[in-house]
Subunit: 335 residues, 2 copies
């Protein structure tokens, strides 16, 4: 049947008419509630014939739920976070839910705006990897909406769950490894964050460095390969080049590789590099990037499980701690 005009969609009222039922009955029937098996079948039939499918927007307005889960990423410029977002999107889809993915781009103000927007969009739950975990907004949101935080778990609120990176452990792993390899002077490259300069991970770095008697020099790198490369270039061509660079994400480490290549320096002979994340590409570089591995699949599963459970009304409120592992490849030399 050719359909010259984009015929208007069938509404619930038309299905009601076709079946001789009330719209209410149809509404119930389609959700398998309240009505007899027989009616359900009859309604299904009619709906199929009319090509009826409930309008998600109208449904959202009336019921206050959308079936969507908001995903607010810290910065999608980071490749690992891209993978994470993609993984969560896929895991949600497997649970018949959809992710509304937004990117705070490292900006706390934007993060707040987007979080509100997500709430206004009536997402049934929110997974957030907060740029600013200390924002009071999270507590506010968590009162009305299941919020699952991924990260340093500093959200001081009744979240529906938290997937916590044991960054203290991750940092210890990395720094002890570097120390054991004989490194003392270490550049630490952390992602730029407009606010929250005293992010726990950074704090751990400083504390651990003190404990281990390391001489660290913290510098921040904006997101994006080009920007990171620039920072790395400055670090590498400075008067006194450190022996090792500890990068707070594999993406940043990639920038160090790029800068080193430009300057004709070799990894790890001229500069040792450590990453943090373990992105799939890290194993492909030459030399392979030695890094701190977080079980990304585990994180994805945990976050999705928590948020979906909470959205379905089962209160779990669990805190799942992610333990890191050192993934030794070849980017750190003995000194």
């Amino acid at each position: 049947m050719p359909r010259s005009q984009p015929r208007k969609r069938a509404t619930i009222r038309e299905v009601a008419q076709a079946t001789g039922l009330s719209p209410a009955a149809v509404s119930y029937a389609l959700r398998g509630l309240q009505v007899s098996e027989e009616t359900i079948e009859r309604v299904r039939q009619a709906a199929a014939e009319l090509g009826y499918e409930a309008d998600p927007i109208a449904r959202a307005l009336a019921s206050g739920r959308t079936g969507m889960i908001g995903l607010l990423c810290g910065s999608l410029e980071d490749l690992w976070q891209q993978s994470l977002a993609f993984g969560i999107g896929r895991a949600l889809r497997d649970k018949d839910r959809y992710a509304l993915i937004l990117d705070a781009a490292g900006d706390p103000a934007r993060e707040r705006t987007l979080a509100r927007q997500l709430r206004d969009q009536r997402v049934d739950g929110l997974i957030v990897q907060p740029v600013d975990p200390a924002a009071p907004l999270w507590a506010q949101l968590a009162e009305t909406l299941p919020v699952v935080a991924i990260g340093d778990a500093l959200i001081d609120a009744r979240t529906a769950g938290e997937v916590v990176f044991d960054n203290r452990r991750g940092v210890t792993l990395a720094l002890e490894y570097l120390r054991d390899k004989g490194h003392r002077r270490i550049a630490v490259l952390t992602p730029t964050r407009s606010s929250t300069p005293d992010r726990p991970a950074d704090v751990h770095v400083i504390a651990e460095a003190n404990r281990l008697g390391l001489d660290i020099d913290v510098m921040t790198a904006p997101h994006g390969l080009a920007a990171t490369t620039e920072v790395a270039r400055a670090m590498l061509s400075g008067a006194s080049r450190p022996g090792a660079a500890f990068c707070f994400s594999d993406s940043i480490a990639y920038g160090v590789y790029a800068a080193a290549a430009e300057l004709g320096l070799r990894v790890p002979d001229d500069i040792s590099v450590m990453g943090y994340d373990d992105h799939p590409m890290s194993g492909l570089l030459t030399p392979g990037l030695t890094t701190v591995n977080w079980d990304i699949d585990g994180i994805v599963r945990a976050a999705v499980r928590l948020v979906v459970a909470a959205a379905d009304g089962q209160h779990r409120r669990r805190r799942i701690i992610q333990a890191p592992e050192l993934r030794e490849r070849g980017s750190v030399s003995r000194r």
Copy 2:
């Protein structure tokens, strides 16, 4: 002011009450329509005081528009497509619009379902990188919704615009390059697609190979580094290893690198590799991946410009052809 209860949001009626206007007037005022400057100001004031913000869902239901753009990706497992999706998301945000990103995961059936869902979500426009460009669905959708296609531009419909990859040219570039390097026996690795086996790019490969007198062997690789590596491993350890592998995406080429490393083969000495896309990581590998570069920023800008223009009612209906460039690095050896 402490807010123990998550006080209900203000509605337009309350703003109307506060200003002594009708809800209609408030609605107009907030959008700067129909009413006097003075009233607009007064309404703005009151809205700010009440913390009023229009409910996007109600607005969508009443007006039929959401401000969102749907983005339907072919397969987000591909790193280049991840970058593309991320880029489009960011570009849209810069235009005060939001992307609803969905992933067809290479499955035409899923693609159709998701496309319909996007339409039902009342997206104002749709950017799609179709898995199955021949599906009649596109024509249907395009009648009621601005659709911008990215890819081989085979969508036979009144799209709002198309960003076309000149794959013929890209393939020619790659294969001529390989021929000039003295390669004759070439493995071609293309992404698995459940349907549309005669994708134009593949067709071009065959045609060009014939023209150039190359001996090609086409094999398909599922998405994902692990799966790709497996296919590459089979290719590399087969009885008669080809001299070069032409991979239809950089992601696939990464799999070849991985497999080669596993098998102790060197790129390019034991196997030459060519990619297609030019993902940022390709320059960081050792050796750098020689590939066909598509201007990803240009694609992002073009797609976003077209879809936003169409969503705003300006009919452009342009077809923008993307010309590829050969990016020579070190993964192909002279034979």
